[in-house]
């Protein structure tokens, strides 16, 4: 077990009853980061964040400081958009950050705006998160009142307006270009990149930085303590601390802030301070390492560190930091259907393969579970997947604009390639798989012994 004693960075106020208020925030060192930032040149703030090697915490894991640099020079206005539309199944870290420490997020927004040169920021909060919206609204009002947001912040010539915007309940809006469409008042549907890279042509076709809530929440600490202190934590390519949401068949589901890149999956799922092991003393059958879109991992992968690069090479991702655990009793065909159904329902309907393909997958899986499966259905499922995500490879090559459709194919490929026997049990006959699936996480090599433990008796 390698549970480190690294300091918590962004969840320090989670247990503080008034941590969400301005008083509580100020008492615990709040708004020191923006003061420190305002004493520097914006370019130096960017440098500090680059030094910290802060990776975006939304899913793609792109270095935040580098992303900021993509704005074409001299083009204003620029906007900062906070992606608070956290909707990936199993992911609920941003919700807690918004509910329990809204001022930390606001301070992070201010620092990012100062660094990038934005005079307006939009906080796009998922529609269903009423409590988070209330907390942020209250905190924004306090911050405006106290002069932390608005004109001439803290007496400087730096001014920022922050607009709180509520989503209308669409998963797809977590995709940054769809979020921008929604923010503009349109139906949330992704834009094609290129040409619509937000940093160049984003909100109202102006340069726009879209950052995740957790990413921004790290900024006050980084500026107060220096990028180097942040970079001193974690592993080579995954610096600092990171929040993981553990759910499913563990004893202690919850959000844990752990040292990035050092802690392993086994630590997170089994350490008493974190997941505490599988519920009811059962065996682990599989787990999703990074949100519902991620290809699955299995017991033989438990000692892999939570390190973006390492996990990526295995053919999957840490994504949004959601780890969903399946115990040995889980019906993997049903689990697969549950995940596919989510993506089918949440497809925005724009691209044909995703709109038609995901619901086709859902219908086939329903039919198999209803006892009407045919031996050729597994090949059909995989070929439908192939028509959405070419070659079922990793990183994926998709026939759609955004990765949503491809996300629905990963549980199908994971489940069929690892648990073909469970599908065959429903179908009542053996199947032959001829469709080529390339993603390393889908095809193994698996540890045969581990598979035996995991399979149904």
């Amino acid at each position: 077990m390698a549970v480190t004693d690294a300091p918590k960075i962004i969840t320090t106020r989670f247990d503080q009853p008034d941590g969400h208020t301005l008083d509580g925030y100020l008492r615990t060192g709040g708004y020191a980061g923006i003061k420190a930032a305002l004493a520097k040149k914006p370019a130096d703030v960017v440098e500090e964040v680059k030094t910290a090697s802060l990776l975006g915490r939304g899913g793609a894991g792109f270095p935040a400081g580098v992303k900021w640099g993509f704005c074409p020079p001299g083009v204003f206005p620029r906007y900062l958009v906070v992606n608070g539309d956290e909707s990936e199944p199993g992911t609920y870290k941003d919700r807690l950050l918004m509910e329990r420490d809204p001022h930390q997020l606001i301070e992070g927004v201010l620092i990012a705006c100062y660094a990038v040169g934005c005079s307006q920021a939009f906080l796009y909060v998922r529609g269903e998160m009423a409590f988070a919206q209330e907390r942020i609204a209250a905190a924004l009002n306090e911050a405006y009142e106290a002069g932390y947001v608005g004109k001439n912040i803290l007496g400087s010539d730096f001014s920022v307006d922050i607009v709180l915007h509520w989503g209308a309940g669409a998963y797809i809006v977590g995709e940054e270009t769809a979020l921008i469409e929604s923010l503009e008042g349109n139906r949330g549907m992704p834009r094609l990149k290129p040409p619509f890279f937000p940093a160049a042509k984003g909100l109202y076709l102006q340069p726009t930085i879209v950052n995740n809530v957790e990413t921004l929440a790290n900024l006050p600490w980084i500026i107060s303590n220096g990028g180097a202190s942040f970079a001193a934590l974690g592993a080579e390519n995954s610096r600092g601390m990171r929040m993981f949401a553990v759910s499913g068949h563990v004893k202690n589901p919850g959000v844990y802030e752990v040292e990035f890149g050092v802690t392993t999956f086994r630590d997170l799922l089994y350490a008493p301070v974190y997941g505490g092991g599988i519920r009811g003393g059962k065996e682990l059958k599989a787990f999703i390492p990074g949100g519902a879109s991620a290809p699955w991992l299995y017991p033989e992968h438990l000692d892999t560190p939570l390190e973006a690069g390492v996990v990526g090479k295995m053919g999957t991702m840490l994504g949004s930091g959601a780890i969903v655990v399946f115990d040995e009793d889980t019906d993997m065909v049903k689990a697969c259907l549950r995940l596919v159904r989510f993506f089918a329902r949440e497809s925005c309907g724009k691209c044909t393969p995703c709109r038609e393909g995901t619901s086709w997958l859902e219908k086939i899986l329903e039919r198999i579970l209803d006892g009407h499966g045919r031996p050729e259905d597994l090949d059909l499922l995989l070929d439908v997947c192939d028509n959405i995500s070419v070659g079922m490879n990793w990183p994926p090559k998709q026939t759609t604009i955004c990765p949503l459709g491809q996300s629905a194919t990963t549980p199908v490929a994971s489940a069929i390639m690892r648990f073909q026997d469970e599908f065959e049990a429903y179908i009542g006959a053996p199947s032959e798989i001829t469709v080529e699936v390339k993603g390393p996480a889908f095809v193994g090599p698996y540890d045969a012994a581990a598979k035996e433990v995991a399979s149904v008796d």
């Binding site: 797809i172 040409p195 089918a344 691209c351 028509n387």
Partner: protein, 889 residues
Amino acid sequence: MTDVETSVSITVDGKQVDAKPGELVIDAAERNGVYIPRFCYHHRMEPVGMCRMCLVEVDTGRGPALQPSCMLTVAPDMVVETESPVAKKAQDGILEFLLINHPLDCPVCDKGGECPLQDHTIAFGPGESRFVEEKRHYEKPISISDNVYLDRERCILCDRCTRFAKDVAGDTLIHFQDRGNGTQVNTFPDHPFASYFSGNTVQICPVGALTAKPYRFKARPWDLDVVESTCMGCSVGCRLVVDASRNEVLRYVGVDSDPVNWSWLCDKGRFGFEAVGAEARLSAPLAKDATGTLAETRWADALTAAARAIKTGLDRSGPAGTAVIGGARLTNESQYAWAKLAKGVIGTDSVDAQLGDGLPAAAVAALPQATIDEACAAGGTLLAIGSDPKDELAVLFLRIRDAVTRHQATIVELAPVPTSLTELAAHSVRTVPGAVHETVARIIAGEGDLAAVRDQLAKGPFTVLLGRGSVAESPESVIAAAGALLEAFPDVRFLSGLRRSNVHGSIDFGLAPGLLPGRVSLDDGQEWFSRFWSTVPAETGRDTAGILAAAAEGQIDTLILLGADPLGDFPDRELAARGVAGARTVIAVDTLPSASTLAADIVLPAAGFTEVDGTHTNIEGRLSVVNQKVTAPGTARPDWMIAAELAFRLGADLQLTSVDDIWDEISEISVRHQGITVEQLAAETDGIVLRPAAPAAAPADEVETNAEDAETVADAEAQEQAVAADAADDTAEAEAHEAAATEAQAAAEAGEGDDEADTVDAGPPGPTPVAFTAPAYEAPAVDAYSLRLVTYRKLFDQGTIVQAAPSLAALAAGPAVYANPADLDRLGVSAADRVKITSARGSLATQVKPDATVPVGTIAMAAGQGDPSPSALIDATTAVTEVRVETIA
């Protein structure tokens, strides 16, 4: 031949091709013979890349990847594979996806046989589907507007119709709703797709999801017999295809004419085909019998009676006793035949194709012309005076809207009440009704806020869209405004806003007082035309208002209504009634019955659009071909044939025996049309733009056509010549003209005078077209105790064609009156009150709706919407219409 500066070299399927910089891969491939399948992409709209059918494998140096070719701009050395295994697999996959929920009810689908989904499935798709589940179900079909059905099961969600509604028409009334596999196109409750352009969505739908009620289940595409033609519903001149089966016109489909309509049609044009086969069509001649009722008669009897009436009139009052109103419905050739009959045989100049609702023909004829492309130039400026293009020239509105929303054009709008251009305009200036020239004068002087408008106009050559926005005021103010603009900005060009179908042909062919064919004045043309016609009117005749006034006083013996309904259409109802009643004999030549044909003594049934061959002249002066597809009902005949028959019975021979024959004569006699051959007209599907003729006639090989890239330059040169000619020293011009006339005479003598064709070929070019003279005009002072009436047009009205098409008839909004709430408060009138509106001419009882967009002092009422009608208030002889409003106790 490759020009490095202007082309990008890419490889498509192993073949090196030249693409234009900035061109999309899908277009570059198609231009070079490689068709990439597509559903959502439509080259007249912004690409969205959502159907994914056009995925191709593209290597830009980082390895091949699937990319939508409709969203990808060509780049140097790009390698595109449209048929690689990966690309083919993707195309197969997309088609299979599109078909899994498609009902495949092709046997009962209107689109079957001309369906891109069918065609693409055969050309690119997998042979069979692996889908064994239940398909998506919706109620079939639902009505989304008066004329369009939506079958959501057939829909493949390509976003074409929704993009058209939002981006092209600006009528954002159909939307994507719900999501995932449940995504559907629909309207919101109580907000039907009430767009003037709804039929275009049916045309661009790549499946049978959108069908047009007027065409539904009428035919299968393979049974349709088609011919390309030019819409004569208004003066824009949209190119279309007439689809007929078993001698019945079943629909019109827009043709993508680049300089004109870009494949769009308005619903009035598109669904107006129903009027062709309307039961009410006049199909046999009618004449009043002994009891005074109209009864069917033989053509010979009707024509003899008509000729006798004309002769009697000539004997009694001379040529001035005969007058012709109308003719805008006619083809160019029929217009020429009627002009020749009226002016060259009967000898009257009292001929007017406009019904007091347009602008003086001589002024329109003399203004420097612009094309639609010039008016809608990227980054250009369009000054709109008068007409509301959406209601009067609907497809022109789409072109203007595109110029503003996609190509940074600037609109300056001068109008008494808001129009469709108001929301697009950078400057929208409200004018006092009947005094737009005063606003123009203040713009030119740069007074106050209007300095910004002047600065905008001064940025470069601009175009004026010049129309008659309100028939409640005389046109002098508009013409005075045009004159002032021409003087202040010599580079300015004008796009006519006159709306009647071939009104510009009527100006060109002499169906206007004071003009002879070729836009020549009576004086200038007297000698030239005397050589071809047996007579030429010496004195300028009356316009429609003048004709009706004279008729009311008993001075008109024979009134010929050439597809005109003054009783229903003339802005001054009382004058029209007195005029029609006062004429001794009324002869109506028409396709459909109207109030005026019912009042006529003799009715001659005419063949209409789709029943005749010929040509049309549009707002730009563009000549394009009109083709016959079906036969006229009963014994109805082409208008030119009726003219020839009447001439024969008057003892003259028009010597016009076919449409081509007429054109040959036109190209000899009309200085504006000299050298244009029937063959050229047939070859140029985009038409031939006529420019104001320079003093020397253009030889045939210099005729400007749109097929040539050099058009703009050539046009600009011709324009400069024309302007230079206008500005030329009067004396010099007169001398030149005299010299030309002498030469002509000499040539005529040399040719022994009896072989006209030879004479013309060898001879001089003929007379000079009319020049513009700005009228002196002063608007009456505003009467503070009255409201000034503005009477504008709506696309759908009580007009004959609209009302003869069942699908359009109900779209006329009906009468309504609007005034500023402040005025109504001042008058103590509420929206619920019945009021009496009184002018010097008459009065009507109605209700007035408060509308804050109507300026104080103005009251607005649409024309042609039935009773109560503003035509009860308008006096055609006054400059403006002042009305008073009082509540009826």
